[in-house]
């Protein structure tokens, strides 16, 4: 089977197979539940541009964001992209917020260095950034700058441990998000895995988040 067919096949069966599960917010004051989202597709790869680098040979997706609402814990259809219905949007390693020129909402975000469970209250002096796509996103893009690091030798994307995306939702409430994995099934392929596996399984987010519906900055 050609690589292309393989990829389309894989893409076909996984489209939007988003599983959501709830787990205990053990140990904390348990006012806010923590939800884990698995295998959220984020513009999965459908082909490779013809030719060789630097002019070609780059993998590409359909170029579409997957919009997500932390408030409702659901994927939001792209037709609602110009609304307040979504909070975060995922495309490859880029995570947009419903703010600035990305959307009409009042969202914002910043990357907090520390542990998810340790972030119990968003510090009062925190400043939420907004999107100014494509040059600057609230959640900084690029390897080792925001939430992930890219290993160019093994061509793998790994979320940096100890990074929490602190999010103000489109409607002005607060959430915290930890990206756990970038590959399908929540497991990063081995460094030795074939390029086909690395390409076919990437751009599937696993993350956990807590959303505080009461509008306070405490989780």
């Amino acid at each position: 089977m050609s690589k292309m067919k393989q990829m389309i096949f894989v893409f076909g069966i996984v489209v939007s197979l988003v599983a959501c599960s709830k787990d205990d917010n053990s140990g904390t004051s348990a006012v806010v539940e923590t939800i884990t989202v698995k295998d959220l597709p984020a513009d999965t790869i459908i082909g490779i541009t013809p030719g060789a680098p630097p002019t070609g040979g780059f993998p590409y997706g359909a170029g579409r964001y997957t919009f997500y609402s932390l408030e409702t814990n659901k994927i939001v259809p792209a037709s609602d992209s110009a609304s307040n219905k979504w909070d975060l949007a995922f495309k490859g390693t880029t995570i947009a917020t419903n703010s600035g020129n990305s959307g009409p909402g009042g969202a914002g975000a910043f990357v907090f260095v520390g542990l998810f469970n340790d972030l119990k209250t968003i510090p009062a002096d925190s400043s939420f950034r907004t999107d100014n796509a494509p040059s600057a996103f609230a959640i900084t893009t690029g390897s080792n700058r925001g939430w992930y690091v890219y290993d160019g030798i093994n061509q793998l994307v790994t979320p940096i441990p100890g990074r929490v995306l602190v999010v103000r939702t489109a409607s002005g409430k607060y959430a915290k998000v930890e990206i756990l994995n970038y590959y399908k099934g929540g497991t990063t392929p081995a460094t030795t895995a074939s390029d086909a596996i690395k390409l076919n399984t990437q751009r599937y987010y696993t993350f956990r988040f807590s959303f505080q519906p009461n509008g306070t900055k405490t989780f």
């Binding site: 690589k3 490779i48 060789a52 680098p53 630097p54 070609g56 040979g57 780059f58 993998p59 260095v113 542990l115 998810f116 040059s135 690029g142 390897s143 080792n144 992930y148 690091v149 290993d151 160019g152 030798i153 093994n154 061509q155 790994t158 979320p159 940096i160 441990p161 100890g162 990074r163 930890e178 756990l180 994995n181 929540g186 990063t188 460094t191 030795t192 074939s194 390029d195 086909a196 390409l199 696993t206 956990r208």
Partner: protein, 694 residues
Amino acid sequence: MMKWMFLSAISSCFFTTVFAQQQDTLSGNGAITVFTATKTERALSNIAVPVQIISQKTIQQAGSLRLSDILSEQTGLFMTNGFGTGVSMQGLNPDYTLILIDGEPLIGRMSGVLDLKRITVGNIKQIEIVRGPSSSLYGSEAMAGVINIITDKSRKNTLGVSARYGTYNTADFGLKGSIRTNKINYQGFGNFYRTDGFSIRPNSRERSVAPIERFTQQHNLGYRFNDRTNLSFNIRHNSETIKNNITVINNGNSINSIGVEKNKDLNATLQVSHKINDQVKNTTRVYGTQFQSSQELISDNGVPYLDVFKQQFARIENQTDVHVNKQVEFNLGGGYIHETANSTRYDNSTSIKTNRIGYIYLQSEWRALNKLTFISGARYDHNELFAAAFSPKLALQYKVNTNISLKASVGRGFKAPDFRQLYLNFTNTAAGSYSVFGSVEAQKIINELNRIGQISSLEPSFYQLSNLQPEFSTGFNLGGSYQNEQWHITANIFRNIIENLIDSRLVAYKTGGAQIFSYLNVKNAFTQGIETDIKFRYNKQWSLSAGYQLLLTGDQAEISAINDGKVFTRDQNGFSRKMDRSEYVGLPNRSKHMANLKLQYDYQNFFANTRALYRSSWATTDTDGNGIFNTNDAFAKGYIQLNMAAGQNFNNGLSVQAGIDNALNYTDVLNLPNLPGRTFYLSISYNFLNKNPK
């Protein structure tokens, strides 16, 4: 491109008998003299710093062909792959070990690595390894230590040939001879080596060791004017031709390129030594060397690639040895170095980069008591391109009795930034179009790119770009030895504190996302551990030797970050958690434990040996994304390599030897691409003169 680590072991043994067998380290240190430690001839038993000697006999009986073969069997040394085969000593990268042939430095490092496969062992009399900083005598690069290859200077007329053949059509031929009269002596040496190379990856077009041919010749002419004045001229030429078949895979797209890589070395030394009187000796050495490397490739889709690098190094040095009295001796020296390089990887391949260095050094040896000797020394290097370096050293030896001796030394070493770190101007179009600019170029180029709108962002490291400083280390060595008829035990504790390490950092992004890297003095690190060697002669036939190194390394900034609770890893659920100091493994690619064991049998003109080499696991890839190496990351498995050899010398001048390397057939496709599976060889040598091996 990848060269190989252990293949050498496959190859050959040269002239098993041509040269009268050297004294082994076991059979009395008193007779062995060492040059490297003090830059003067000294009895091994009187050296205050950790020194190891590898004799010609040891090299031959190990069946070594290239320098890396025999070094890989020594305690605490391991061979690195990538840009050739380099040697890591006391846990430092290959960049920081100075490699000398007859006291003169070899040049032609690629990415800091001097490929030890370029050096044949066929005409080596002994290899001297000095551990710990020796910049007080040798200047730049002598941070981890010095490896000096002393070539054979026969005392009689000899003529011998040797041939060896082994797995992967690896063949090695040698011719060596010397003529000696009262006034003139000459020795000549020629070596041809070739191999088909191999790949331990099934179905791979690209070979982890490429097919290669090497030709080395060396001629040495000496003239004795009188008892006081001697002149010698030495010339060495080495050329290698490597067939490249390189596949670059990018996102499943593979591009194949074929072509040829050629490397040429030329070294010439003229030395005049004159004994002014019984107390004073003066030596002048003029040395010139050139390294030329070219790689010409053409890819499947017809894109040509040419990479050229040329480096020249000329030096004149004068040293005066003054023997004041029985207690005091000192050596005073100075010299001037003129160094140039040009490369297609710099801004312009015809623009020649130059550095000039002037230096002076002084060493004194003071036998304060019968049992106690102090050696102190210092060297000052004045550089045209970067800050000056001052390298002091102090060492002492205390002979408790005839069996026990204690040594302590402290010294400073440095490595000057190399031309690559200053002038590199390289964009890798085959892999994401990232660029690396040397520190001299970086600001200029990035500012210009920024002006024309081709820079999307400047990283914090960009604002830290400045003139590169030399890298410094302070090394402490504390050791002791015990020796009697049967046992010889040495142990050494070392600690190297390394400051100002130069590392590449991401400094900017181009529009389109391509990364730009440059070099900064950013890291402080340490390596420390214990090296131990035990030799035991059971009887005339059997002897055993064992070596062990414990190595601990770390990066100071990483340790502070861990202690401050700023470093995280992931638990089994994938959730972040704080990383503990105990999970930190230090610098990557280093094994905590390394050991070797050698069992040797000698009976009349027959010998047989088995050598086992062990390396414990080492960190290879940061898989948890925290940027440092910890127990949650990917490791290469520890392994044992077993080599065996046996040989017989006949009284008619003939000798034969056979061997198996990597007898356990251990391979690791990913982490040890240069280690072939089990290999065999057979070698024959014949002496036309001096046929009796004893």
